[in-house]
């Protein structure tokens, strides 16, 4: 009887070499045939939805996820088709993307840059996602956009409003449909002038991160152009919950407008505190004191309750819009979930459709082909009127809504009223505008 002796180490070594040898041809063949990261194999394609499922923006993340599920249904030819029926491009046929059924994986950004990068990385490397989309914070969007650029997949940003996302931190593989701080300023300024006059003193409270900084800069520039004076700008930590110590100095500053460059829980708390301190009843030199919240969201408005009434702000989209695209989307979303979609849901749904359409028009999932198809793409029927995906910075240009907290809501969803639909021409800017300067798109990266 012979006895074969093999050490544990030996088995492991042989196994590893054999494994690597077997894996190598597949790796090489995938790369050499497709030439880009995560080329879809078989009859399905995987998209990665990276949304905050925990942390302070979890509710927005949940709404984004609902929108993505709806978009996947519509792309696969299920449901009523939603905005596919109103979209000006007819490249999508309701049979998936390029005939491949759309599947998806989800990740949790936790609204933390490192967690968001980790979940995006996992979806790209483990699940084979060919596109990453979602998010509810500019810090996260910029971090994930950078990762997707390196990995060679497309990033379709979710809710991100910082100028930097398509400004100094723009990337060739990244695209933003949502509007930005500059656009909020440009849209709000004329309304602020007509409502509050051109002789005002503004006091800014600003969330201390990329989004807050760029929005403050944008709003200050737009209002100073009207003749307003910026009395002060105080940066507040993102983790702040009680703003009373920040509100109290406003009372003695001589300012007659308070601009809250806050979002999410920050906004709910700072606005509530400002109202508690009686700012809205105050008269300064014969002028009524006013509060402005430049970036509004209906989900946030719900958190702020009564305090939001009469307050002006801007938003990317609102469910009460009466164009055919918006109506189709609200109908489809409302029937499935029982309540109207948020602006976060809208932008995420639209981004998914735009990506799928670009792939269909390009005839390829190759990121560079998709980039080419999206750059300079003009479309309509997705809820904001005629829209352009500008080639120079991958930012969408479309109408912006100026809204006000409704005085007499008729339902729990009816919190904002549209004051003005600011036409696209009024919110456009040159690609080399100083607020967006400092970065370059670079070359598209197909990865692999």
């Amino acid at each position: 009887m012979t006895k074969t002796t093999m050490s544990r180490r030996g088995v492991l070594k042989t196994g590893a070499i054999a494994g690597a040898g077997l894996a190598l041809p597949t790796y090489l063949s995938a790369a050499s045939h497709a030439g880009f990261t995560n080329a879809p194999q078989g009859d399905t394609v995987t998209l990665g939805f990276n949304v905050p499922q925990s942390g302070p923006y979890a509710d927005e993340g949940a709404d984004e996820l609902r929108a993505y599920e709806l978009a996947v249904e519509h792309l696969n030819g299920e449901g009523d088709g939603g905005m596919l029926n109103t979209f000006s491009s007819k490249a999508l046929e309701g049979n998936g993307i390029l005939g491949k059924k759309v599947e998806y994986v989800t990740g949790d950004t936790q609204t933390k840059s490192d967690a968001a990068r980790a979940s995006a990385k996992s979806m790209i490397e483990k699940d084979g996602a060919v596109m990453i989309t979602g998010g509810s914070s500019s810090g996260v969007a910029i971090a994930v956009q950078g990762l997707c650029q390196e990995a060679g997949v497309i990033f379709m940003a979710g809710l991100t409003h910082s100028n930097d996302t398509t400004g100094k931190d723009k990337k060739a593989n990244g695209f933003r449909h949502f509007f930005n701080g500059y656009m909020s300023g440009a849209a709000l300024a004329p309304v602020l002038e007509s409502q509050y006059g051109s002789d005002r003193k503004a006091y800014h409270l600003t969330a201390d991160y990329t989004w807050g900084w760029t929005q403050q800069e944008s709003i200050a520039a737009a209002t100073e152009a009207l003749g307003w004076e910026t009395v002060n700008n105080v940066l507040t930590p993102l983790a702040q919950t009680d703003f009373s110590s920040y509100i109290a100095p406003v009372l003695n500053s001589g300012a007659d407008v308070l601009v809250l460059n806050h979002y999410g829980g920050n906004m709910v708390n700072s606005l509530t505190n400002a109202v508690q301190f009686g700012l809205r009843e105050k008269m300064i030199d014969g002028k009524q004191f006013e509060i402005v919240v430049p970036l509004f969201s209906r989900l946030m408005a719900r958190g702020a309750g009564e305090n939001i009434k009469g307050i002006l702000g801007s938003t990317n989209w609102h469910w009460s819009l009466q164009d055919e695209g918006s109506k189709a989307f609200v109908q489809s979303f409302g029937t499935k979930y029982g309540f109207p979609p948020s602006q976060a849901a809208h932008t995420c749904y639209v981004q998914t459709l735009l990506y799928a359409d670009a792939v269909a028009r390009a005839g390829s999932f190759n990121p560079c082909a998709v980039v080419e198809a999206l750059e300079g793409f003009e479309f309509d029927g997705l809820g904001n009127g005629p829209t352009l995906y500008r080639a120079e910075d991958h930012q969408c240009f479309k109408d912006v809504l100026v809204v006000r907290g409704k005085e007499n809501p008729t339902s729990e969803f009816d919190l904002l009223e549209v004051v003005e639909v600011t036409p696209r021409a009024q919110v456009e800017y040159a690609p080399d505008h100083p607020m967006f300067a400092g970065g370059t798109l670079g070359e598209c990266n197909p990865g692999a």
Partner: protein, 340 residues
Amino acid sequence: MDAIILQILNGLDKGSAYALIALGLTLIFGTLGVVNFAHGALFMIGAFCSVTLAKLLNLSFETVDPTQKDFLGNPLKVKTPYIESWFGPEVGATIIDWSVPLAILFAIPIMLVVGYVMERGLIKHFYKRPHADQILVTFGLAIVLQEIIKFYFGANPIQTPAPDALSGVASVGGAVGLNIAYPIWRLCYIAFSLLLIGGAFAFLQFTTFGMVVRAGMADRETVQLLGIDIDRRFTIMFGLAAAIAGLAGVMYGPINAPNYHMGMDFLVLSFVVVVVGGMGSLPGAVLAGFLLGILEAFASTTWATTTIPGINQIIIYLVAIIVLLTRPRGLMGKKGVMED
């Protein structure tokens, strides 16, 4: 002058919350010897008691109003709270309006039970374990409680407004020539916490139960040798500490809308308060709570933040370091607490 008084008031009202939480922490630490990291979660649960009561009071039935349309163009379903149909629209609306003060009554039994269950069900098993184990298990518990609340109530803050009658601003100091407008509810909060703190001290000082508890805090073994079941009393104290934290949370709701992580926001600072006040010292906890609240308010003024950027973020920790360097047992700490 006005600005200074305004910041003192701001400090007092932040300090009230710190003092109430720190008081409960110290009570638990002094009686049971447990460092309870789940105490912030009790504060948060208290706030959510008032959210729950508001939801219960707003339970509604639906009637279809064919004259109005909902967002999909279907006939609008109008919701009427049961309470308004039982007591008439006016009385019903008043009850709903006063839901936060009513939540005080609602929260007391709930918090006592939560405290009792927490102590008997989990923390009891960790008395003989090292402090590190106690900290880990209570911290874990805090995260679990927080996630449960998030599951049921969502991640966004939920408004619990003060009654209309108490939600305006009051003019403070008019008699002495000052003109300060301060929110009425925040004044109520300061008054309420002073009452609660006074009540807790009176209970410990002037009742037989309180006397036994104080004796137990001083020398547990001797009290037990006298045939007194001190453990049962300490469990009740845990429930009481939970109730104090819970009530602090209920009343805090109208100041800042409750959300699931509000407990964590307060917890770390409250521990600093306890340490600065002196481990195991009840008056120390209260004093340090108000002192640090006021310091934090002044550090957040524009003058302070422009002179030393970021001072508002670190002031409390800075003071803690200085106090611990100069008075290692805290402001009013006694010898022999947490020292072997």
